[in-house]
């Protein structure tokens, strides 16, 4: 079955005439209304021709600056097809918008200005090609524009086409097809109408290429449906989702991943009456033979051809937003309807999108492309991105602000999840804790250097010990002599330092101990990540709140003096940021005597249980 909808990405350098080409295409396909045509009568180019670009730049800021900033989505219809067009900006600063437009495109329409490419292709042309290929766009059409400005010169076109094709050889991900078409968007040559000015061009026009291009079919892959939502009604429980590939009918056996449960489809329920069969792209509600306790995040698949499941992945990522990506950071990971926590294990390379070389990097800034390894808190079923854009693509989301910060494409599993099992032993935390007669937990003291964290932790530990509690102190400085000897003070090293300390604390809490951990841990996000590693109520965040001026005055190790002298880079509070907790479980005024503060902590612990721990997600969704 041919696809009646074609998703097109249009891209190209600033001023290459992209908006003009799209406007011209709409015009020549008769897809404009009369009030839009009237606009064309008013808006003219310096040559006195209709200014087609004025149809498109939608935002005031764009019209004022005369550039396209954001992706614009528009749709138009021809006799043969419906087009969904993502018009992406050309400027380097907006690479992320280009990646966005490319993510679902069936074909990229890349604009190139021949008058500017004569001396060699522009870096942006290469960058856009690389991103389109990276995002898995199957086909590319290169519109070599402004042929009217070079006298419709066949040789000039041939030279540019040859150079372009030679650069494609270095791409890691290849296009299925590459077409180059000489056009004049302004005058309409080879857009819809064959150009009389270029009889030497024997290929198809842009319009004819778009009308005949067939995107790869999803229906041929095995059945797969991510469960979005559970429909509950009287004596009814149905799994609602959209068929991504393959098809499903009543009686079909399905496997649910990652839970591993199996059942058969009893009915395909729909408002207009049960369906016999549902193909790819159909939104359905599956009633199974068994009432399995599965919900959103499970993937229903064909048991004969299940995708693999893993919790350690290698991926490529386009970084979209601040803050920059560094190793050790934790993000919310979204793949299909699965949601996980992902920790960036390693940032192995950054791609230079102009030379196509990969180089070592410590961080990825917005619009950078890189390779990462990531580790998930639970396994996820997936298919490599080059085989499935739906099951190989993921988002990384900032845990606190909720913003989309990274777009990832899975290359492979580093370790299949079934090779490492979690061993359940007979003795568990409950047993250890019962023996000690205490509620195990971690008291996490955060605050500036010299705020009094270690002093208060030390005094608190003594008080608890005197009461017969089993305690242990984990200290940042002390750990750096052993376990964390290999780490420095750069942001990524600090994140790793804190992560390791948290893992040690967690093991000790599992062993039934009360752990007192004193770490500057300056980043809110890192502390939120630590909290997630503990069961509810086990992690108590204590903010030792001492003003910077007081800490600098105390300065027991002389560090503030050196930092203020500019001799100590990355020193928290002076040359590196400290993000104070917004909602600590306990806030201590660091200017009070430490003995009193220690008593406050003990009262807090021994009196009531810690108050309800707030969810780290502002809109409270963890399901």
């Amino acid at each position: 079955m041919t696809s009646p909808i074609l998703r097109v990405l249009s891209c190209g350098s600033v001023d290459d005439g992209k908006s003009t080409l799209i406007g011209r295409l709409l015009h020549d396909c008769d897809a404009l209304f009369e009030d839009q045509l009237a606009l064309l009568e008013r808006e003219r180019t310096p040559e006195g021709l209709p200014d087609f670009s004025r149809l498109l730049d939608g935002l005031l800021a764009e019209r004022e600056q005369g550039i396209t900033i954001d992706v614009a989505y528009r749709t138009f219809r021809t006799a043969g097809r419906r087009y969904l067009l993502a018009d992406a900006p050309g400027h380097e600063r907006y690479t992320r918008n280009m990646a966005t437009g490319a993510s679902r495109a069936d074909v990229a329409l890349l604009l190139l200005d021949i008058t500017r490419a004569a001396g060699g292709l522009l870096p942006q042309t290469i960058r856009h090609t690389v991103i389109a290929s990276l995002m898995g766009v199957p086909d590319i059409i290169v519109a070599v524009n402004k042929m009217d400005c070079c006298g419709y010169d066949r040789l000039a076109f041939g030279k540019v086409e040859a150079e372009y094709r030679s650069r494609l050889a270095n791409l890691q991900e290849k296009f299925r097809s590459v077409r180059c078409v000489p056009v004049s968007a302004l005058r309409g040559d080879n857009v819809r109408r064959r150009s009389e000015n270029m009889p030497w061009y024997e290929g198809e026009t842009i319009f004819d290429l778009l009308e005949t291009l067939e995107p790869p079919a999803a229906g041929e892959r095995p059945f797969c449906l991510p469960v979005q939502w559970v429909a509950r009604a009287a004596n009814f429980r149905g799994l609602a989702g959209t068929v991504l590939s393959g098809s499903v009918e009543a009686g079909k056996e399905v496997l649910l991943l990652p839970s591993g449960q199996k059942s058969r489809v009893r009915r395909l329920v729909a408002l207009e009456g049960d369906l016999q069969k549902a193909e790819a792209e159909k939104a359905v509600c599956l009633r199974l033979e068994d009432d399995l306790d599965v919900g959103r995040g499970e993937l229903a698949v064909d048991p004969e051809a299940p995708p693999e499941t893993a919790d350690q992945l290698a991926a490529r990522v386009v970084w979209l937003n601040d803050p920059p990506l560094v190793a050790g950071r934790t993000f919310v990971f979204r793949l299909g309807t699965c949601e996980r926590l992902a920790t960036i294990g390693e940032l192995s390379a950054k791609l230079d999108v102009h030379t196509l070389r990969e180089q070592a990097a410590r961080e990825l800034k917005p619009n950078d492309v890189g390779r990462i390894k990531l580790s998930l808190d639970r396994p996820v079923p997936f298919v490599p991105y080059r085989e499935s854009r739906d099951l190989g693509a993921f988002l990384l989301v900032d845990r606190l602000g909720g913003n989309t910060v990274g777009a990832g494409m899975i290359e492979l599993a580093l370790r299949r999840s079934h090779t490492v099992f979690w061993h359940d032993f007979d003795l568990d935390q409950t047993a250890y804790a019962a023996q000690k007669g205490q509620k195990p937990r971690t008291l996490w003291f955060t605050g500036l250097s010299a705020s009094g964290k270690s002093t208060v932790a030390n005094l608190t530990a003594r008080l608890l010990h005197a009461r017969g509690r089993h305690v242990y102190i984990l200290d940042g400085d002390n750990l750096r002599h052993g376990l964390n000897r290999d780490l420095g003070f750069a942001e990524s090293d600090r994140a790793e330092n804190v992560r390791r300390a948290a893992e040690v604390a967690r093991l000790m809490v599992d062993a039934g101990l009360i752990v007192l951990a004193a770490f500057i841990s300056p980043y809110r996000e890192d502390r939120a990540a630590i909290r997630d590693r503990f069961r509810p109520g086990e992690f108590v965040e204590i903010f030792v709140d001492t003003p910077l001026s007081v800490c600098a005055q105390r300065d027991p190790k002389g560090l503030y003096a050196r930092a203020l002298d500019g001799k100590l880079p990355n020193f928290t509070g002076v040359t590196a940021p400290f993000e104070p907790p917004e909602n600590p479980d306990l806030r201590l005024d660091g200017q009070l005597p430490p003995e009193r503060l220690a008593e406050t902590v003990v009262d807090f612990l021994e009196g009531d249980n810690p108050r309800k721990i707030l969810t780290p997600f502002p809109n409270g969704k963890t399901k």
């Binding site: 009646p4 209304f33 954001d70 528009r74 969904l84 979005q228 408002l271 309807t337 909720g402 989309t404």
Partner: protein
């Protein structure tokens, strides 16, 4: 399956997917219902998305008190028939100060009775996601709108810092004070909406069908005198009967009718296939000033 049926099936599946993501991703979504053709399709898709379960959120109508009377009776009948929870909200201050399209001018009136009223209603009920029927083909600034579109505290739309929206992975997380607008019909066109209504046999407000109606000529369009008692006539103005219908429905003093003889959904589809004017042309509020829709959206207009 012919092309039109196939296209409608794909658009329907996409919209249902978006509805389900909204239900799963938010604590308290709401469906904004404006009673027009897009809302009719939206409500139908919501029923399909969750069937056999009921629609898991209420339906909100921001009532300016200047809607066509036929719209209100249609609203009451349909919501009862479908058994959905209907909330109706009117800006109390605007009502008290008697803010009307005649006394305040279309821009101020729309700001108070629609934009401000919507913000008030969302705050009052604490909705974290509002689903609307806006389409990207309606207006140029809408072409840059996301399907899941974040509003900063105060319900403002910041066109410059929208979240990138990749693949069909919709990020439903919110930062402090943020809310979401969700547009399941983003990729539909006016013609799609009518073809879907035709294919599904959906019922729409009769004002869409041509009929002799009392109208006056204003700003190059026909304004229907829905309530002669509240109509403010200009000197020398008198209603005349004309065969007209509406392409979009809003407040009657601001909704321009077109001359037409299309009296059924099938005839409307035929008319739109031949249409030479885009749909919002009849709306007086869009032509107030350049970029007016964008400004309104920044201030919280849907």
């Amino acid at each position: 399956m012919d092309d039109t049926t196939h296209i409608l099936a794909l658009l329907e599946a996409e919209a249902i997917h978006i509805f389900r993501e909204t239900a799963a991703g938010f604590e308290k979504p709401v469906l904004l219902y404006s009673i027009g053709k897009d809302s009719t399709v939206l409500l139908h898709l919501a029923r399909k998305a969750f069937y056999p379960a009921p629609i898991p959120f209420p339906v909100l109508h921001v009532d300016t008190t200047w809607k066509f009377r036929e719209m209100i009776s249609f609203r009451e009948r349909k919501t009862r028939e479908y058994g959905v929870e209907l909330l109706v909200y009117t800006n109390p201050a605007g009502k008290e100060q008697n803010v009307t399209p005649f006394t305040y001018g279309s821009a101020r009136y729309t700001d108070i009775m629609k934009t401000e009223a919507l913000r008030q209603a969302l705050d009052k009920y604490g909705f974290d996601a509002a689903i609307g029927g806006a389409r990207r083909d309606e207006e140029k600034s809408r072409a840059k709108e996301r399907i899941f579109s974040v509003r900063s505290p105060g319900h403002r739309w910041d066109a410059r810092s929208q979240r990138p929206e990749l693949w069909r992975l919709y990020n439903t997380r919110l930062g402090p004070g943020e809310t979401m607008r969700v547009f399941p019909l983003s990729n539909w066109t006016e013609l799609d909406v009518w073809e879907y209504i035709l294919a599904g046999g959906l019922e729409v407000v009769p004002l869409y069908f041509a009929k002799e109606r009392p109208v006056v000529r204003r700003s190059g369009t026909w304004i229907m005198v829905d309530d002669p008692e509240r109509m403010v006539f200009e000197p020398g103005e008198a209603p005349a009967m004309k065969m007209v219908r509406f392409r979009t429905l809003g407040c009657w003093p601001l909704s321009g009718a077109i001359e037409s003889s299309a009296a059924s959904v099938g005839e409307i589809v035929g008319e739109i296939r031949q249409a030479r004017h885009s749909e919002r042309q009849g709306r007086l509020i869009d032509s107030d000033q350049a970029g007016s829709m964008e400004r309104k959206k920044q201030e919280g207009y849907f």
